[in-house]
Amino acid sequence: MDAKDSLRIELQFSGGMELLFDNQKTIHAKVPASFPTESTGKRHRTAIRDLIGWIASTLLKERPELFIGADGSVRSGILVLVNGADWELEGELEYELEDRDEIVFISTLHGG
């Protein structure tokens, strides 16, 4: 894959999330820079929504339902940080990824 066609994304998992990814805390992933839009078929820049689907289909080792929710978002109770900032501030699912972005997934699955 050409460098222009893919984004270098650093994915981090903690709080139990890493158990879903074969105990890997950090994954340096090359993510396609664009995904086809479902309705039109035209390619758009990769958003977090696409990233989540991509992770679930390529990286996830087990139990996808513990990661991905019904609406294509992450399961409720998973905190997502985009470059250290809450993804809610960055537009949540619609945030368009940049090269060398750092995405952190923290599970709040645990108890006290």
Partner: protein, 547 residues
């Protein structure tokens, strides 16, 4: 999860929050930095967030226990390894490390004397993964060392290994596993055997809910034990607001509403000589997770057996606790005030007027009077085995919903498994009692167990399948020898509530009673005479007359 009706209060709160923020996208405190975290409509930058969280913690701590104290107390921090309890340690450390000018001021006494950290190692309950099976070296990864090193980094005294008998295996849970059969046997049980016993008990739970609840009782009882052992009078738990909200709903659902105030309040003084505080009760788990990641606090990943079970179970949702968790977090996503609303509402509950002396042997919670009777009245359960049980007792056949006449034993309406449960504590009592119990009747010779339980525990134990534990419960008379092992503290509490000092004392009492019973059996006419003594007309004189 979405609600079709828009809550008007939410949008008002949202509007208010937005108008409060001078610039959207900037921190609501300093208003100059770009915001990086959003907590219930309020946006913060990293430094302001840390300050806000710290002051929130201090406020909660002050509310839990006034700063003005005459003699400082020792506090025990319960550390599971997750983000909440990890934050608790760090926040406590920040709070406790006073600036030098305050520390040297002798007029200002310290609020907390010594800070201890304890950890319960649950790794023995985790099933090894396939990879671990292959690589035997990583099979028994104990979380204890990790916890110890974290505590050591703060210079806090660490507890957890002192309870083991062998001294080598820092396996706390194993301490509570065996129910001491006899004092000699207490020491001979190996750690492996204890783990096996605990696993057997948990395997007998037919539902994940029962399993989690049981483990939670053991866990909290251990924490209290550890706290007392370390001469601490305060136990600080890392329950977050999210966790408390889940518990409020979850515990109510499993029938533990009566003890809810004790299990969810900021400060509970239910347990004798051990106050339980939850200083993080106002902090969302999201805040604590962010805190840990900002401070780069080291956590123990696989710290809870429950987490492991979740990973292993193939079904989507498995227990009431998990379901509630899904419900609360799902709702909270769209209505960020959900957690706070649930917590505020339940905080209005006041503790019941029960006394600590009458605590439930299993969960040490308050017990309502006549639980069994009440349960019988509201439950309509007819188990297929009822008839045999009833006929063997020769009573209650007419009304299957009524109570078993055998005083201490369990009612017949709550299925045969409960009947077995009532016989369970036969292993609370010494093995001789097991043989005594083969009288044919359910359990007059055993420690009364189910009659002393609280409603929640009674309900929970119905999900225990003792057949799975290999106990011979097929025949009623054999039940006395079933191996229903519970931690020793259950037996201790039972004896305490019966007003007995030790197991031996109980044995003696039983022995004496058995002797009586033996005499009765030898001469039934004599026993009948004893029973109707009061109604007998003294006829000594008349007896002589006809002769």
């Amino acid at each position: 999860m979405s609600c079709s009706v828009e809550e008007p209060t939410m949008t008002v709160a949202e509007k208010r929050a937005k108008s409060r923020a001078v610039h959207v996208g900037f921190c609501c405190k300093c208003k100059s930095e770009k915001s990086t975290i959003i907590v219930r409509y309020a946006e913060y930058c990293d430094p302001c967030f840390l300050i806000a969280l710290d002051s929130k913690f201090r406020t909660a701590l002050r509310n839990a226990r006034p700063y003005r104290v005459t003699n400082p107390e020792n506090v025990m921090l319960a550390f599971s390894g997750g983000s909440s309890s990890r934050s608790l340690i760090h926040l406590f450390d920040v709070f406790h490390s006073l600036p030098p000018e305050v520390a040297t001021n002798k007029q200002q006494p310290k609020i907390y004397n010594n800070i201890h950290v304890c950890h319960i190692d649950e790794s023995c309950l985790m099933e090894p993964t396939q990879e671990q099976e292959r690589d035997r070296s990583s099979l028994t990864q104990s979380t204890m060392e990790q916890a110890r090193s974290i505590a050591a980094a703060y210079g806090y005294e660490f507890h957890g290994d002192q309870l083991t008998i062998s001294g080598q295996a820092p396996e706390l849970l194993s301490k509570i596993l065996p129910l001491s059969l006899t004092p000699s046997e207490r020491t001979t049980l190996s750690r492996q055997e204890r783990i096996e016993k605990l696993n057997a008990l948990l395997r007998a739970c037919t539902t994940l809910t029962a399993k989690e609840t049981l483990l939670q009782h053991f866990r909290s009882s251990l924490l209290v034990q550890l706290t007392k052992r370390a001469q601490c009078t305060i136990l600080a738990l890392g329950d977050s607001a999210t966790r408390v909200a889940i518990q409020i709903i979850g515990l109510t659902a499993i029938g533990r509403g009566y003890s809810l105030p004790h299990e969810t309040s900021l400060l509970s003084d239910w347990i004798q000589d051990c106050k339980v505080i939850r200083p993080l009760k106002d902090c969302l788990v999201k805040e604590l997770d962010t805190f840990c990641s900002l401070r780069q606090l080291e956590m123990i990943e696989k710290h809870e057996a429950q987490l492991d079970w979740t990973m292993r179970t193939k079904a989507e949702i498995k227990s009431i606790d998990r379901l509630t968790q899904e419900f609360i977090t799902g709702l909270d996503k769209e209505f960020p005030s959900t957690v706070a609303t649930v917590c505020r509402t339940a905080a209005k509950l006041t503790a019941p007027g029960a006394t600590y002396q009458d605590r439930c042997p299993l969960c040490h919670g308050p017990v309502q009077k006549d639980v069994q009777e009440w349960k019988n009245r509201i439950t309509v359960t007819t188990a297929p085995t009822n008839h045999t049980v009833d006929s063997s007792l020769g009573a209650a056949e007419v009304d299957p919903g009524c109570c078993n006449p055998n005083g201490a034993s369990v009612c017949c309406s709550t299925s045969s498994s409960n009947n077995r449960t009532s016989n369970g504590p036969s292993s609370c009592s010494p093995p001789q009692n097991g043989s005594l119990a083969t009288h044919g009747h359910s359990s007059p010779d055993e420690l009364p167990f189910s009659s002393l339980l609280c409603y929640g525990c009674l309900t929970n134990l119905r999900d225990l399948d003792l057949k799975a534990m290999g106990s011979s419960s097929s025949h009623h008379a054999d039940e006395g020898v079933s191996s229903f092992d519970l931690p020793p503290y259950v037996a201790e509490t039972l004896l305490h509530r019966l007003g007995l000092g030790s197991l031996e004392e109980y044995q003696e009492m039983q022995f004496a009673r058995d002797n009586d019973a033996g005499r009765v059996a030898q001469d039934p006419r004599e026993s009948l005479r004893e029973q109707i003594q009061e109604f007998l007309i003294e006829s000594d004189d008349e007896d002589d007359d006809p002769l």
